[in-house]
Amino acid sequence: MSDTQDPPQLYAAREPIFPRRVKGTFRTLKWWLMGFMLGIYYITPWIRWDRGPQMPDQAVLLDISSRRFFFFMIEIWPNEFYFVAGLLIMAGLGLFLFTSAAGRVWCGYACPQTVWTDLFILVERWVEGDRNARIRLHRQPWNWEKLIKNGIKWWLWLLIGLATGGAWVFYFTDAPTLFWGLLDGTASPVAYITMAVLTFTTFFFGGFAREQICIYACPWPRIQAAMMDEDTITIGYRSWRGEPRGKQSVETSGDCIDCMACVNVCPMGIDIRDGQQLACITCGLCIDACNGIMDKIGKPHGLVGYLALTDEPLEKAGKPDKPIWKHILRPRTIVYSVLWLGIGIGLVVALFVRANLDASLTPVRNPPYVILSNGDIRNTFDMRLRNKHGEDRWFTVSATAGGDVTLALEGTDELRVLVKASDTLVQRLYVTAKAGTVAAKAHHLPLRIWITDVEGPDIPKAERIYKDTIFNGAEED
């Protein structure tokens, strides 16, 4: 550190940012994306999906109280949580793929923080005017105008926050019921508290914290640096074309006229001409701003634009850029894609092969076996039978084993048991081997328990699954 510098400040107030309105390709794309994503978020809980009587008709529903996750035709039970885990892993790998290919596209276009901040800035501009008007309002002392404008703005923000929190709770219970419940005050306190928390966080994060969330709070931008390399397409300033900055009338000037358009539109308040930096979310607005200026001064687009670090020496030497696909198609993106696809295909296959009956079989190993009065050896198993059908079903059990065994169910003389629709039943199963038989004397006998949901007149196809386990005999000394 040189001696000429001022002593460093330990803390500093946030510099307020007043992004200027901009028009262009990326801004248009972002408007469409914002509409699309907010639409998905707000509309999804209202989509209905008929699953038959007794079942919820909400297409996407996280039913925590009865521990079910509904997604259109898919119904996930808690023991199938690996589907959710798989989806989360896919989401992670997807982020890795996009980041290694095209930098912080998630941050710039799709992140809720970006989308809602964009929406809040839009509201701010409607109420207070564009950048210069907002700066003026910010600087002037508190008066009626400032109070009223800020008041309107905050109320609109709060309404957006309320809608955001409101939409969130609809994902967890039947949306229309909850909607009327929220209005007439009969909804669960949890719903109100969740809404209040989300309303506040949306209001605060989108209205006041904004870029501070990306810079100080979010871990993802820090991790992203590890995903990017020289071939990653990102937003940069072509300094070799722009420098030295200055008036166009001066012969030695580059293309950059130092108009600050790229800085004024930036929602993160940075100067892209300083190069790659931690705060840049690659939202593309500086590209739009600069291209607009280039049009006015009659210079080609792309002084600020999407490019990769490897393009820099090529362009400096006057050669054309590497084609985009060569940037994107490289080992790491291929590895990410293959992993992503592999998990995706695995999940889809698992989804289609899974049965509508499901069971787990827990051997009771305390004690490993019981000697009955006639010398027979009995093993006990706890079966957890899950009926994923929309109607009640009888489940029967049978066994194939390396020796003769007989089955019995606790509490019934039959070898079948009724499991209610969309329910789980815990049923005790006894497996007995006659005294003196191979099975009774075996140390370990392979045992396969078959579980079938019984065919009925209106049930076209019975399903059968098996569980492999071990029969413990009374090993002779």
Partner: protein, 312 residues
């Protein structure tokens, strides 16, 4: 892509930390001021917390805090809440016809769950967490289909309520009745009950007779001699065919299940020194001394034990 290094930019008054790794330097940016405020707020919160909640350690305990928060009190409240919640089904369970409990889905579900935890708390010490008992010590296995006093729900209920051979409950099963000590060398209460004094040889003969009727390898000559001694001394309790007597808690000697063990050594020890297992009374109450378990709890345990695989 960068016009010039940011640290040389005259606009920013920020220096570097002076650290340099492979030529990469670190800007010494100030913290945001709001961060500092959150830091102060955390300190304020911590002070408030220590006032509101138990915090400062003292010699025997801690400052209670002005809110009077106590996790122990919370647990007590929770227990009380659950007790109140369970009160209706408990009284229903206590009032229901014993044999009808298992047919009532709600009662059965409650009794099984309650019985399971009651068993783990009160019964597992002797009968084992899996209810398999301990053979060498004479704690019966509750999973099999052999019962000393009966395995029907009402028999199990009676056994749990009054216990076996205990000194407190006058209704306990088998008070004063036990397997006598038959050895001519035995003394004491267990020996006094024996109708005869048997020599070591005679006891060996009875043991072989028992081995024979239980389907085990036995010395035929000894067994024949033992049969006569058995008829003279043992049939009163164990019956002529050796199948036992539930009214007297006399075990069936012909099956594969043994309370203490069915091998020659254990049978000899049983005959010589006698046996008399004890089980506490769980339902006996006197003035000032409540029962260990309520009627509803005993019924829950009975239903649970009845469901373990040996229920009759």
């Amino acid at each position: 892509m960068c016009a010039k290094p940011i640290k040389d930019d005259t606009k920013t008054k920020v220096g570097t930390t002076g650290h340099s790794w492979d030529g990469i330097e670190e800007l010494n940016n100030p913290l945001p001021r709001w961060w500092l405020w959150t830091f102060y707020l955390c300190i304020l919160f911590a002070i408030g917390y220590t006032i509101a909640y138990p915090a400062w350690p003292l010699i025997s305990g801690a400052t209670p805090g002005v809110l009077g928060a106590s996790t122990r009190a919370d647990v007590e409240k929770d227990i009380q809440r659950f007790d109140e919640m369970n009160a209706p089904i408990k009284s229903k369970l206590a009032a229901a016809d014993l044999t009808a409990i298992e047919g009532d889905e709600a009662l059965r579900a409650y009794a099984l769950e309650a019985g399971k935890s009651l068993f783990a708390t009160n019964c597992a010490q002797c009968h084992g967490s899996g209810a398999a008992g301990v053979q060498g010590l004479g704690y019966p296995n509750l999973l099999d289909n052999d019962w000393l006093y009966g395995g029907a729900i009402d028999a199990i209920h009676a056994t749990v309520t009054h216990g076996v051979r205990n000194t407190v409950d006058p209704d306990a099963r088998n008070v004063g009745i036990y397997m006598p000590a038959w050895s001519d060398k035995a003394v004491g209460a267990l020996a006094d009950m024996a109708t005869a004094k048997l020599t070591g040889e005679q006891i060996g003969e009875v043991v072989h007779y028992v081995l024979k009727i239980s389907g085990q390898a036995a010395d035929e000559a000894k067994a024949t001699a033992g049969a006569a001694i058995y008829t003279d001394n043992c049939v009163a309790c164990h019956g002529e065919d050796g199948t036992g007597n539930r009214d007297l808690g006399a075990p069936n000697l012909t099956d594969a299940i043994w309370l203490f063990g069915g091998d020659e050594t254990t049978l000899t020890a049983t005959l010589m020194d006698g046996r008399g297992g004890v089980m506490p009374s769980w339902g006996y109450a006197t003035e000032g001394s409540p029962a260990r378990l309520s009627e509803a709890d005993i019924r829950a345990v009975a239903v649970y034990v009845h469901s373990l695989g040996g229920g009759e």
